[in-house]
Symmetry: C2
Subunit: 345 residues, 2 copies
Amino acid sequence: MSDRSRKTIKDVAAAAGVSIGTASRALNRTGRVSEATVIRVTKAAQKLGYQPDAIAQSLRLKSTKVVGMLVTDLSNPFFAGVIRAAEKRLQQAGYALLVGNTDNEKARERFLIDLFQRRRVDGLIAGPCESEDAEMLEELDRGGLPVIGFDRDFGAGQSGLHVDHRRAAFEATRHLLNLGHERIALLSSSSTLSPGRERIAGYAAALEERGIALNNALIRAHKSSMEFVASEALSLMSLRPAPTAFLCLGTRMLAGTLQGLRQNGLSVPDDVSVLTVGDTDLARLYAPSISAVTWDLESVGQMLAELMLRRLEEGESESEPRRIMIPTQFIDRESCAPPGHRPET
Amino acid sequence: MSDRSRKTIKDVAAAAGVSIGTASRALNRTGRVSEATVIRVTKAAQKLGYQPDAIAQSLRLKSTKVVGMLVTDLSNPFFAGVIRAAEKRLQQAGYALLVGNTDNEKARERFLIDLFQRRRVDGLIAGPCESEDAEMLEELDRGGLPVIGFDRDFGAGQSGLHVDHRRAAFEATRHLLNLGHERIALLSSSSTLSPGRERIAGYAAALEERGIALNNALIRAHKSSMEFVASEALSLMSLRPAPTAFLCLGTRMLAGTLQGLRQNGLSVPDDVSVLTVGDTDLARLYAPSISAVTWDLESVGQMLAELMLRRLEEGESESEPRRIMIPTQFIDRESCAPPGHRPET
DNA sequence: TAGCCTTGCACAAACGTTTTCACAATATGG
DNA sequence: CCATATTGTGAAAACGTTTGTGCAAGGCTA
């Protein structure tokens, strides 16, 4: 119980009166062991409270049963939900998930990849990161470390998963167009990461479909604080002609936009329509509730884990890379109305 | 480069023309090695792209440089922020953080602790969990595994950190009392976990200070979906006399309450005041903005890491257990007004 | 009954490190 | 110049597993 030293398989073997080799085979039910000794060894192990040392096993078996995951910010709810689901699924398969924050810095990503390699992770899930250089990960993958990309550009031979950000933004934009909006402001936190790029492309595609020229003055794409986004929103509203709708890409953009509009007494959707890609509590519960495009974080995490597990189980057969596209859903709420709405006044 | 097999210290030693013992000493700058060989070995290591195998090191050194963290739900933003900060600080010290979700189930907690032990984590940070039995963790701690509690009851000899939930709720309640409220509804997600218990105690203490009797009809404390919370809020409002203020303990409670009030056309703060313990985007940006009690997630995470690191570094000296109480701040916003406010109508 | 196959086990090697010990070579002191 | 520190190095043990190999004992076929 309160025994200082941990029990090793040696202790178990001694207690059962067999060699450590047999003890191991008995516990793992591998190789040829008589049923009698299996029972004897198992009992001894139980009595001693023996737990196999995962480190020693890793060393011997050349597999740590750990997969690493790279993410810009684990406290971002869109990642947190994915991580949660991925961890759950991996755990079922006996794997642990080691998460690292890149803070969207290339240097930190490098550092973490290095760290994960030293720790001998069995696989790597790589989320979007600044300057997603595919080569490094591709090299790792070729070098024998399974790499699964997540919302991230990667080499031709790799497996990965993408949320369909392009279609998400496309549908959101089209919804606004269908309401009659033509000047749609776009607020994005990033135009360099894959999700941001894809979303902007979807926005552009929807406009093009309607033959509306892209107006760069309406697009603001840089990461920034909520306060700055608020002022951006206001500066957009002071354009002439002013935009009649806001498409917010990401939760922080939505928060800033709402704050900015509210500070200036602009009401949604009477003065301006608002739509967001990426659903949050804020969008759901704001008054008025904000229409949003959403996707299932849990299934994203689960699929990521699944992809990784397949790569891990299938051994060397590597097969063809698997790619998954996660669909998105548009949720219509109260924040969108035809332009020039203003019911009374 | 694309070399299949990983380089070991053996390769480095061979390349530098020394024994593996000296290679190790040279790389770690430990023991007596001539400066010349240090340089030679270092160069060889660099050329080969040698990375020491953390697994082998762990086995030999009996330290994995990993700390485990137990949390009910890593996607809960209050935990996510803490985890993020803790991971950052631990990483600076060369430790990795392995997180596990208990889903607030005792069985899962048991399972994870077992898992962490098999993986030979160097330390354990244990967040609140259903039926926080202190004995198990205490035994672990005595058994040589440093355990740091987080918002969790634990044994007398253990170190830990608490957010001052009691005072948070106390101050929130007092603020409402000062405005003249006497019937304050309380919505809490849990009365069993330490934070929930403490908050309810704080609420009760503030009422008692004013000589107001605790009215159990005004208290709803169970974990539940947002929709159910909404209906709870409505049922509370249909009491006669109806509560004039809502104190929401936790973000989901706030969300449900706001939804319920809004569905029934009740306005904040004119019809009812609302106050929340635990600040979120929703509280900040809702119209009206919701007064809240907040605390710094980042410093919580950092302190947790710090406590753990001290335990880890100080070796066997164990010293006296360290305990830290994290203060909270009250943020007054727009959601509270004297009862019977109703400016116009 | 001789030969052979099967079964059950012990022994030892291996995984990649760190570290203790011993030993040679060189430096130091009288 | 001899005795003694000091320094640099290599050999080997150890960490706790898993697994290949060998060997003895017993059961089977012919």
